[in-house]
Each structure stands twice: as C-alpha cells, then as structure tokens.
Point group: D5
Chain length 98, copies 10
Amino acid sequence: MLFLARMDVNFPTDMDPEVMADFQAQEKEYSADLQNRGIMKAIWRVVGEYANYSVYDVDDHDELQSIFQGFPMFKYMDVKVTPLAKHPNALSYYLRED
Amino acid sequence: MLFLARMDVNFPTDMDPEVMADFQAQEKEYSADLQNRGIMKAIWRVVGEYANYSVYDVDDHDELQSIFQGFPMFKYMDVKVTPLAKHPNALSYYLRED
Amino acid sequence: MLFLARMDVNFPTDMDPEVMADFQAQEKEYSADLQNRGIMKAIWRVVGEYANYSVYDVDDHDELQSIFQGFPMFKYMDVKVTPLAKHPNALSYYLRED
Amino acid sequence: MLFLARMDVNFPTDMDPEVMADFQAQEKEYSADLQNRGIMKAIWRVVGEYANYSVYDVDDHDELQSIFQGFPMFKYMDVKVTPLAKHPNALSYYLRED
Amino acid sequence: MLFLARMDVNFPTDMDPEVMADFQAQEKEYSADLQNRGIMKAIWRVVGEYANYSVYDVDDHDELQSIFQGFPMFKYMDVKVTPLAKHPNALSYYLRED
Amino acid sequence: MLFLARMDVNFPTDMDPEVMADFQAQEKEYSADLQNRGIMKAIWRVVGEYANYSVYDVDDHDELQSIFQGFPMFKYMDVKVTPLAKHPNALSYYLRED
Amino acid sequence: MLFLARMDVNFPTDMDPEVMADFQAQEKEYSADLQNRGIMKAIWRVVGEYANYSVYDVDDHDELQSIFQGFPMFKYMDVKVTPLAKHPNALSYYLRED
Amino acid sequence: MLFLARMDVNFPTDMDPEVMADFQAQEKEYSADLQNRGIMKAIWRVVGEYANYSVYDVDDHDELQSIFQGFPMFKYMDVKVTPLAKHPNALSYYLRED
Amino acid sequence: MLFLARMDVNFPTDMDPEVMADFQAQEKEYSADLQNRGIMKAIWRVVGEYANYSVYDVDDHDELQSIFQGFPMFKYMDVKVTPLAKHPNALSYYLRED
Amino acid sequence: MLFLARMDVNFPTDMDPEVMADFQAQEKEYSADLQNRGIMKAIWRVVGEYANYSVYDVDDHDELQSIFQGFPMFKYMDVKVTPLAKHPNALSYYLRED
C-alpha cells in the first residue's frame, strides 16, 4: 500500500553546522537505503521550504511507524501521513518512470 | 518539472446520477490521455475522500494551467498546487516503478 | 491494520424526513454488517454533533476505500482518516471489551 | 462513559536521552496500570507522529482530569478530549476484541 | 458533571418568518424545561452572533446527546462541546447566583 | 455584565517546581478573592488541558482589563474574552446554583 | 465602553437588485441614527471586501446585542465583537477628529 | 488615509522587569508623539490580551512602514494591517469625539 | 502606492455558460482599461485555481475601493488586500519588465 | 515562468544587532544580484511585518530552490511559493514599469 507523507524539518537556528551536516549525511544514507529496498518510492523537495513530500510502499502501519522513527532527524520533523488508494482513473498504481 | 496537486471534487448532492457518471467517464478519458502523454505521472485516491493527489510533469505554468482548466470536472474541483524540486536524498527525480 | 475515521454528516436541511429515515436505515444495516464481519471495530457518536469516530480493521487501502464509498450516505459525509500503529504502551492492539 | 483523547508529545529537542527514556518508562507503567484497571480501553500511535489516540472509560470529569494530570509526561503533552456517546448503529458501545 | 456548549444557529436566509418564529417558540419552551429540570444551568447569547454558550449538568454522555438532539432547531445548529472539571481555584463547582 | 474567558496557561517546561507552586498559590488566592467579591462567577477546568473557562461580572472593560492583568500568572496566560448578553430563552441571566 | 466589530455581509448572489438597494437604504438610515445618537462612533469599509470595522459606545451587552439585531441586514451579516479597554498609551479613549 | 492595525506583543517571559518597564516607557512616549502629530488617531487595549487595535492616518505606505519600524518594541510585536476606506454609511470618515 | 490583491472567483456551478462568458468579457475589458490607465500594474493566474494575484497603484483607499467595486464580477469574488511598501533591498519599487 | 513568494523573517529577539546588520547587508547584496540578473522581478515589504512578497522568473524548480537556499537569511525565513500563469486579462505577463 502507498502512503504520502509531508515532512517539515525544524532545526534549531543555532545548531552547530557540523552537527547539522552530520544529521543530513545520516539522513541521506537512511533515505537511500529505503529507496534501494523499494520502500520509499519517491521523495521531492517542496520548493522554498525545508520540507519534502515522499511516498512509501509498505504492508503495515507498524512497519511504517518504525520506518519514520528510524529517520536520524525524526525528532526535528513534523510528519503528516495520508493513506492512498488506487485511483479509478490511474493506468497504474505506481508512478511511471520517465 | 514536477508539480504535486491535491484536487477535491465537490459535486452538488442533487446531481443527476447519469450526469455524474458522464462527467466521470469524460474525466477518466482525459486523465488517461494525460498519463499516456507522460504529463500526469501518477494519480491516487485520498482514502475516505472524493479527492486525489496527482503528479504532473510540465515545462511551463501556462501549460499546466491549461491542463487543469481542461479537466471536464474542473468547475467542481478545488485544486492546490505545490511545486516540487529534486530532493538531495532522491536517487531519482521520478517515482520508481514497482 | 487499524484506521480511525471521523465522519461528519451534512444532510440538506430541507431533506424529506422519509428520505432521511431511509438513508439512516440503510446506513444502520451497512454498519451492522461491517461490524459483524469484524471490519468496523467500533463506532461512537461525537456528543452534540452529527458525526462519529469509528475504527476499521482492514489489510488494504483499496478495501478501505471501497468500504467508505459503500456507505449509503457517503456523498453527504466528510471523512478524515488517520492510520493507527500499535502503541508501545498498549497491552493489546485492539480495544478491551468491558 | 467513553472519551476519546488525542495526545501530542512535545519534548524539547535537547532533552537528555536518559531523562527521556526515564519519562517513557514511567509513562508505560502508568499507562499499563490504567489499562489493567479498565480505565484506558485503548491506545494507538498516530502513524508518523509522536502522538496517540486513546479511549477512556470513566464516570466523572474530575476523575478523568486527575488521570490526565497523573501522566508522568503531562506537562509535555497537548491533549484534546472528545466526549463519546453510544452510536445508534453500534452493536456494542465498546470496541470488539479481535 | 458539567459541559460547556457553544451553539451556532444557521437558518436559511429565505426561511419563512412564521416558520422561524415557530421554531424559536418551540426552542424557548424546550430550553425552559431543561432549566427547570436543573439540566441546563445557564445559557447566554454571544454578543453580535446568532449563537449561545450554555452549561449542562448531566451524568451521562448518552443523556446529553439525546438532549442536544431534542432541540427543535438541532438540524440548524453547529454544536461544540467541552467537558468541564472542577477547577482547583473554584470555591464552588456551580456558578454563584447574583 | 457577563464575560466568558478562556485562559490557557503556558509555563516553561523547565520552570522550577517551587516557583510554579508559588505562582499557583498566589493565583488561587487572587481567584478566591475575585469570587468572594462577586466578580468571578465561575471557573472550570477544561478537561485534559491546563486551561479554564471562567465567567466575570463587571460593569466596565477597564475594570475587567485590570482584573486580568492582576492575575499573578497573567504573563503565562493566553486569554480570549467573549462578551455575553442575556439570552431570550434564559430564565435568569446568571447560572443557577445547585 | 467601546466595542470593535467586524461585520461581513453575505448577500445571496441572486438577490434582486431592488431588494438589495432597499436593504442598503434601510441600513444607511439605521446606521446614521446610531451615529447621531453617539452609539456608533465610527464605521469604515474594509478595502476590497463587503465588510466593515465599526466602533460602538454602549454601557451594556444587552443594549449592544439589541443594536446588532436591529440592523436591517443582520441576518446576512457575520459579526465578530472585540471588547476594548483604555490603552495606557492613549491620550484619549475616543478617536481624535481630524 | 486610514489603516487599522492589530498589534500583539510577545515579550519573552524571562525578560528583566526593568528592561520591560523601559521598553514600555519608550513605547508610551513614541505613541504619544504619533498621537500629537495626528498620525495615530486611536489606540485601544484588546481586553484580556497584551494587544491593541490602533488607527493610523498617513498618506503613504512607506511612511506607515517607517512608523511601525520605529516602535521601540517593534521586534516583539506581531502586526496585521487592514486598509480602510470611507464607508457609504459613515457620517464622517474619522471617529467622532465624545 | 502599491497594493497586492488576491481575488478568488466563486461562480455558481449552474451559471449559464453565456452569462459566464459575458461576465468574463466585461471583466477583461474592465481589466484592460485599468492596465492602460496604469492602475493595475500586473495580474497573474494562480495555477490550478480560479483566482488571481494582481497589483494596483493608487493614491487612495477610496479610489481603490471604488475600483474593486467596479469589477463586473465583484459580487462573485473574495478579495484580500495587502498594502505594500518599498523594500530596502529593491532596486526599484515597480516590477522590472522583461 | 513566474513564481510569487511570501517570505517571513523570524530572527531570535536576542540576536546581536551587529550579527543582524551583517545578515541584512549580505541579504541586500544577494537580492540586488538576483535583480540584476533578471531573476527577481520585484520585491515589496508587507506593511507592518518583517516579511516580503517577491516575484521570481526562472525556468526550473531546481534553480528556484537553489536560489531560495542561497539567501543568507534562509534558515530564519518561512517561505511560501505560488506558481503563476499568464492571466487571460493581462496585457503582458510581467509587471509594467512606472
């Protein structure tokens, strides 16, 4: 099943730049792993904001919850999740690659 | 470029069922065409709501606007558009097929 | 998996009382069936409002969407869905009967 | 009588991990006790958020208020309470166990 | 137990003045009865709005729900209910008469 | 004239417990005095929240403003005031004692 | 005492222009009378909207409520009232004429 | 031209009382000067809040912006500005003195 | 002085297409005239919505209000106006042509 | 293509004035460069707020995102972006110079 998430990152404005860079590196690695395992189907930056829309394919809410809690930057994020069903007009459930 | 849209449909509750079915058939055809032309990359139903999230790949705001205005049910829809940029953690800009 | 829904009913104030009663009778039957099949785990009235909170146990978003669309009063309802995961402090995932 | 609560936890992002773990352990114990006493009928995690929906069965607002104030993490929580009545379509007031 | 309700009335602007007067007369009678039975402890007009704040003393959510549904103008009202507990600073739970 | 106020208290989560207890003791004394002088007609706790609804009977906005500013915890409070008029359905302007 | 009101007018878009003109003429007369009696101290149009901010000087909420209900267009208006106190920095309570 | 402003003051709760008193004294002087120069036509306290509604008469947005930025407490204020036009029902554009 | 307006158009969904086309033709003419007179400096379509952002250069609120009220579709529009001042970083007050 | 942005700046109230002045100087330089390169077509101050509306002309969301992230004060800003299309009533897509 697919889920759409909007994630807003709220770092303290006085965070040490190295600490921030470290968080971002860990996040990138974690995110790549989710993509390689076919769990995170897409992630996009919301233009102008420190936020993303991302799409997840999981079979279970508990699995999804543990994926979110595993994000290295989870405690700085505000996450809103929308469950998605197949749309009657969709030619395929997943996005079509370019 | 990609854009995320959330579209909420507000039909009058007293709309004739045949009129509604006709609108939906036209909408399905229009939507299929956008998918076949590679413009609409995905469309999902928001669970529980007469609403969708959909993803568009166009080069230009005027083209996108004319696509939205072309939806047969446009006058019954409330559309909110979010411009999307490539995310630094994304392995690819587009969603990955199953 | 469990989902919490809040459903608000918006009948036109000039709806014929018999039509309304008929809708409500159909809704009651549909709702009882969902409960008997173990899909709807609970439904409560929000005090003071023509609204409910209800809990669903389904394996799949498409199944859940077709359940919502099957409600006889669906076109008069505003539905908001929240996916629920097991809470680390819960002794059991489901509610405990009295 | 039943009450639905949504509780959002807002820990300071710089809270010492041991302090946090201690709060969570106390909370878990408190929560288990409420469940064992038949007061807290259910508690679920809102997917993606440090938040829960939980259901309480108490006879009295003062009792409910003292239960909320007793949560070890109460001062970090934002709580919204909705009083629930029996729904005319409900086969039973309480949730049905699995 | 006490509950605070805010009720907003939304009559259609083209309602026949006699129909409206009839609704209001029924409402007044119903409201007086609730006051005489000690259920409605207070009702005030929100200045400038067709709305009230009112206070109810009932033992049970089902009783409260049936009281609200009994209001002759119920289908034209938007009702929001807040459960009230005794305040530690209150000299008495109820309002003090003049 | 009556006014309804909703007051939300926002203490810093790291406030010293003795400082907090001292504030609360002062607040209780101040609040008792207002009740004894017939100014504060009622105060209730909003269940689950560090908030109250309270009712004031004063002749003048300047007097009311100075009452609010006199609350020992005023700088930690968010106050919203609603002016109340006599309701045509009210048997008496004030709440009825138990 | 002074009160600030924001009033938004919501006429049906299909109202007969003569009916509308008649309402507006009555409203103008009523408004002039309130100004001549020193009750309405000011009224301004919110630029771009069919709305006003207006200032009232009355001794009593019941009087203010009956003034609002007396507006010929009252049932088409959404009114929000804010009680105003003397500001410590104000050289005079009332506005200064040009 | 007239403008209505709502200004909310947000002082840190741990501000030194002398620093606060100094800010308030400067603000009072600044405000008196604006009133004496005929720029600030009125200022009122919103009852219960550390906020004001105030009315300005200036010929130009740049002048108004520099007036706002000149407030000694500007960086602690949240300001919302509404442009006001003459109302067709107003007997005079300005408020009438008592 | 410049003002930014956001205008949302809300036509009834059952408006006769010829009536709508006539409104739109009148609106286009009115809008062209405002542009030719140097009053409307820009107008853009909000992508996906029947709405625009537009920029006005007028000396006076009364003039601006009469411009808005002159829009043939005014009664179907929801207009929100923001006064704009010169920005310290702007090389020129007006937009720069391509 | 054009984009409208609203940017709100949230500096900590205890920021060192020299640090702030340095940020503002860098921002001004960055902003001037964007204007000279024809990317930022306009920037205006929202009267009364530490906020701007600005207009950007870029061909691509990734370019726009990197422009926003390049603002020296980016981490203190809350940015909301609206994609703009040509309006059918516009005599030209861009604003007209004075």
